[in-house]
Chain length 715, copies 2
């Protein structure tokens, strides 16, 4: 298929690097040198193909399904294996609020007129390609079918060029399309919209390919016309009935009517074949050029209704909601390798386990990589040959697709959302998907890049992941020149959300992707559809599973650097570079042109300068490190991201406290709260909005100064 480029992980030549660190900084007590890791993670004995084909993708395993439970059992068995398991493994049960299809009885019906055949066509066609008979129609709360035509039912044409910038928080980006600034899903209701149909336009996902006969799966990796991309429309994360509390049996639950963050109106994803039939019949004025997609017709605004010449003209709508909400148990599977020297410092490696349907890539590619990493590390631990300096916690999260529930409940269960345990977790790694990208806190960039130099790209004995990566996806850094592009974890696209945004734990997301110069597809086309199967993955995504092995090596390398190195492999100057970039962008945008009070860009520049100085001083301290200072400096490195938390920064945005990485409407690489507040103030001109902009500026300055303080010398 398409040429692939490794964007995230890296190898296993931890040995040499660790040796250098140790030789320079002191004796690493209680930790053996893991020179076996690369070898084992390279071997053909890799579990990955077996996991993927035999265990993890045979059945659909949406949250709480029999397939999910089967995977739980399988992982527990692996992690409790006396020869290759971990020190401990257990399941943690939560009772969470989910939504399931009720195929027989629509529980809410609003009949406007009878015209209700479209959805079932779509679903039936999609099923024809599925490898399993279980019902893949897990839909979000309140998701429902609502054909367009009624002027107040929104059928939103795509806005491929701007959708990237909307960053709607937990909502899976692109699950729904709507022009930037135009209300969609949860925002549509106040505009009088009573239902939303969402679809994925072939322009965005299929490079315009639409044919069922030879252009799409099973003939290529492109999404078939009947493919339905699901996604959560929940703007909060975690269990909806127990905000900020772990969803135990006895936990207080808010009344269902008090749930916020989900659309108050029915929302239903459909395939593009149905969207095509509807959009090309829409009447009204032509939509702007950036709304136009791959269909061979002009996308019109659609209001009021269909074209006078359309068969649908004067059609009305019947809305049937075929889902019901239920409290269900969902499990996290947890495993631990205990640290030898600093067992109270935890490196968390997580991945979700539930999928929308079969989820061969999302999430089972990540699950199989995690199982492979634990198999190799676990065996060395069981044989007494190795034990990391710090503890490693492995988490297989449940119910991610419903709104990052498993990982969020985990952060809440022992008051992890308070200060007590937070400090123990230096980093959170997510590896949700073997074909994505690498993102992380800027301080984590260097460890990813270092590791990527030590792993070979799939199918090559000479080209490193780093070399391949820099060729296909790079950026220019003031400090390093051209380097591979490591993204940022803005928004809340996956399980890292509770860790980075709420807890301020330095996080990264490692995965593999394809050559983006050859396709406009924002992700592999079967993403979140019923076509994400073992067949699809093994034929079109990763034949031979060599990329999976590369990701396992890379994730293993990063993980062991984090868990084993005497000094945490974080680089604060890289964080300073990012803040300077944000500052420059803010200045360009004249974000700082406040009407009142006058000279307030100065304190922000001072704060960033102060941060840079502190980072430089800390870098220098690292170079002349005395052994006794190690834990202290590790604390500084570990706490850096936490210094950017402010619980009061975004009072209306559930769970967002990180003032650098919160998602932003501005969609630019600059300070999100400041940019949004400024944009709003400039647009309204209201004094109260300028005041909020000033408040955001004060919060930002205080956070950056605090971060600089964190990096500074003790007293």
């Amino acid at each position: 298929m398409l040429k692939k480029v490794l964007l995230g992980s890296l190898g296993a030549v931890l040995v040499l690097t660790a040796g250098i660190l140790l030789g320079h900084f002191g004796i690493q007590r209680g930790s053996t040198t893991p020179d076996w890791v690369m070898d084992h993670l390279s071997h053909d004995r890799s579990l990955v193909p077996m996991c993927l084909s035999r265990e993890l993708t045979k059945v659909p395993h949406m949250a709480t399904s029999p397939g999910d439970e089967k995977t739980v059992q399988y992982m527990l068995k692996r992690w409790q294996d006396p020869d290759t398991g971990l020190d401990q493994a257990w399941r943690e049960e939560y009772k969470v609020y989910l939504s399931f299809p009720d195929p027989n009885t629509p529980n809410k019906v609003t009949v406007v007129s009878p015209s209700d055949a479209v959805l079932y066509t779509a679903r039936e066609k999609e099923k024809a390609y599925s490898s399993d008979q279980e019902d893949p129609e897990v839909v979000q709360p309140y998701a429902a079918y609502a054909p367009a035509g009624h002027p107040k039912v929104g059928l939103y044409p795509p806005t491929h060029r701007q959708a990237d910038q909307e960053d709607p928080g937990v909502v899976q980006p692109y699950a729904a399309y709507a022009p930037a600034g135009h209300p969609k899903a949860i925002n549509a209701a106040p505009y009088g919209v009573i239902g939303v149909l969402v679809y994925t336009d072939p322009w965005d996902i299929n490079d315009g390919k639409m044919s069922d006969n030879n252009e799409t799966y099973p003939y290529s990796w492109y999404m078939p016309p009947s493919g339905v991309e699901r996604g959560s429309f929940n703007t909060h994360y975690g269990d909806m009935l127990t905000p900020y509390l772990a969803a135990k049996d006895d936990t207080y639950r808010i009344p269902e009517k008090n749930i916020t963050g989900i659309p108050p109106i029915p929302t239903q994803p459909i395939g593009f074949e149905d969207a095509y039939a509807l959009i090309c019949e829409l009447g009204g004025e032509p939509a702007p050029s950036e709304w136009q997609g791959a269909f061979n017709c002009t996308y019109n605004f659609g209001g009021p209704g269909f074209k006078p010449t359309s068969n649908f003209n004067n059609s009305d709508v019947k809305l049937d909601i075929y889902n019901r909400e239920e409290l269900k148990n969902s499990a996290n599977v947890m495993g631990v390798i205990r640290g030898s020297v600093e067992p109270d410092r935890y490196v968390i490696y997580g991945n979700h386990r539930d999928s929308w349907v079969h989820g061969a890539i999302d999430p089972s590619s990540g699950t199989s990589v995690m199982l492979e990493v634990t198999r190799v590390l676990g065996r060395m631990v069981k044989q007494g040959k190795w034990r990391p300096r710090r503890s490693i916690i492995f988490g297989s999260w449940g119910a991610e697709e419903f709104g990052l529930i498993g990982s969020t409940e985990y952060t809440e269960v022992n008051n992890l959302n308070q200060s007590n345990v937070i400090y123990k977790i230096p980093v959170y790694i997510i590896c949700s998907n073997a074909t994505l990208r690498a993102s992380g806190s800027p301080s984590a960039q260097s460890v990813i890049l270092k590791a990527s130099k030590q792993v070979k790209t799939p199918g090559s004995d000479s080209t490193s992941v780093y070399d391949n990566w820099i060729r296909y996806f790079n950026r220019t850094s003031p400090a390093y020149g051209v380097i591979p592009n490591v993204g940022f974890l803005t928004g809340a696209g996956s399980d890292y959300a509770a860790f980075i945004h709420f807890l301020g734990i330095t996080s990264m997301d490692i995965s593999y992707t394809y050559d983006r110069t050859k396709t406009r597809a924002r992700i592999y086309p079967a993403y979140h559809t019923a076509y994400d199967t073992f067949d699809y993955a093994s034929k079109f995504i990763d034949p031979g599973f060599t990329s999976h092995q590369t990701v396992a090596r890379t994730a293993g390398n990063v993980l062991m650097r984090l868990a084993d190195s005497l000094l945490l492999p974080f680089n604060c100057s890289d964080y300073a570079e990012t803040l300077e970039g944000y500052l420059n962008k803010a200045m360009e945008n004249t974000v700082l042109e406040y009407p009142v009070p006058a000279p307030i860009s100065e304190p922000l520049q001072n704060a960033v300068r102060n941060f840079r100085s502190a980072a430089t001083r800390l870098d220098h301290a690292l170079s002349i490190l005395r052994p006794l200072k190690v834990r202290r400096i590790n604390d500084q490195l570990m706490l850096l991201d936490r210094a950017f938390l402010d619980p009061g920064a975004f009072p209306d945005r559930y769970g967002f406290r990180h003032v650098i990485w919160a998602s932003s409407k501005a969609g630019q690489a600059t300070f999100p709260g400041l940019a949004d507040a400024y944009t709003r103030a400039r647009s309204t001109g209201l004094d109260s909005d300028w005041k909020e902009a000033h408040r955001q500026l004060s919060i930002l300055i205080q956070a950056i100064q605090g971060a600089a303080h964190t990096l500074g010398d003790a007293i």
Copy 2:
């Protein structure tokens, strides 16, 4: 005067204890044994009398006054002294919102009828005893004069027996009296009250003594009839215009109209001579017996108006507000002794510097004790003879009387309200007043008691502070039997508030007090009046300043145990005992009889049991401690109080996050949020109130489980 009993501090025999700890646990690198401390703190060379008489109480030093600035300069000079100063000392400036008297122009006038002579009589008489001519009339924002008589102006008779239980947050307890449950100050407005006069009844403060001629100061320690006890009525803390942000020049400030937490109506303290004239003239039904005070008349409800036979009958009211609000600079004076082994762990020793008028006791007794402690420690540091294991930060806070402003801004300035620096502060000690009591987190009880055994009570060569204390003020502990009574830091009475309630830093408040069996006075009678002068303090509070010296020795002992001991001297089993007491009280109160869902007391009992087990295991771990575990266990001890923080627990209560120590209307030793919610639910019977009770229960369980987790083994 009255026999005094030491309630808080303790001595300086740190040597022996430190030796035991060190011998048992390992070598304490870089820290010398401070066997000189008790000697020096015992010497007659003590600065205390000199500080008090010569420097600190010559002039009034309310916040930002010339007297305050003079004290700043004096402290900086001391702390920067090349022979006896600290490693560093500096001033930190904040621009804060304060209220000052405007003697010439009333800025708000509501004339109802002319009858405005009372206040000025009171003030003039009070001034006659003052040793200085500066204007002592610093009043709170919106405080004003409002004689009673109008049915809607509240003149609240005292409720001495219940006032103790009201715990009105930052409001200085007893500054205003009102029956429990009856609206006062900030709560009065919704009931139609348009102004409040508050006074201190002789029953509460003077053991009933009222005579100006021979019963009160200058003939005894009792408050003269003209004495006016001031106090803040602000229910929030910190600068009012910059909530949760440090009040720097460029910081965003909320509009003044958005200030919350202060009474919307005029509130004026008056002396009891004026209250007497008014109360005994009030008509209406007799008030309940617990409202009656020391005046030789029946306290009537007063509504409507005065007795028909009174000269005041049919009088109306003129309200003149003689104050103005201003942004003013206020300074914290900071000093540091750098730690030798763990410089990134901070013990904070703080005391406020501003007073209502002269403040010989509150706060200058604490300031002089702090100066004495720093003189002795600073000299040893300058001579190169000693350096503590951890860093010590000394803070002289400004503008405490206006609402704990200096200490709160300090916690905000470098994002201390976030997670980054929090963890570095094991403990905060406040020593605001040499004649108060000892309170603290339960885990800090043991270090106070240990120290108290090593210091002699004033004027004795054989009786320890501990022996004296247990005789006059004790309690029965299930674990220890009868022991001296160490209180809890519930509410927000002084500068510990931002540390314990917002940051969850284990805190204590150490001070001296008198024999409570001999007086009903809840505090020394000149408290917060213009009579709190050097003359008063040296004649009636601490002749010869021997108690001051004892406090210096005690605070020094505690401080050095915290800063120098290898293992933090905190005892988690004592925390477990407190939680068990709270649980028992909650069960007695049938706090747990929820209508729905049924069996939810079980999880709370489990949580407390779990905490106890973890505490016991940690105690055991301490007894077999290996040196490498020291820092890890210290982290657990340090973070224990932080585990009880929940930012969502009390959304309507500014700055309160600690679910065990938050103030409570229930006024009982039990879980505050649960008790208040239950009381309310039982009273209203509303389903929504029962739901809130359940929510509080879930928060509590999660916090206690999280605390148990903090004490548990690493992984």
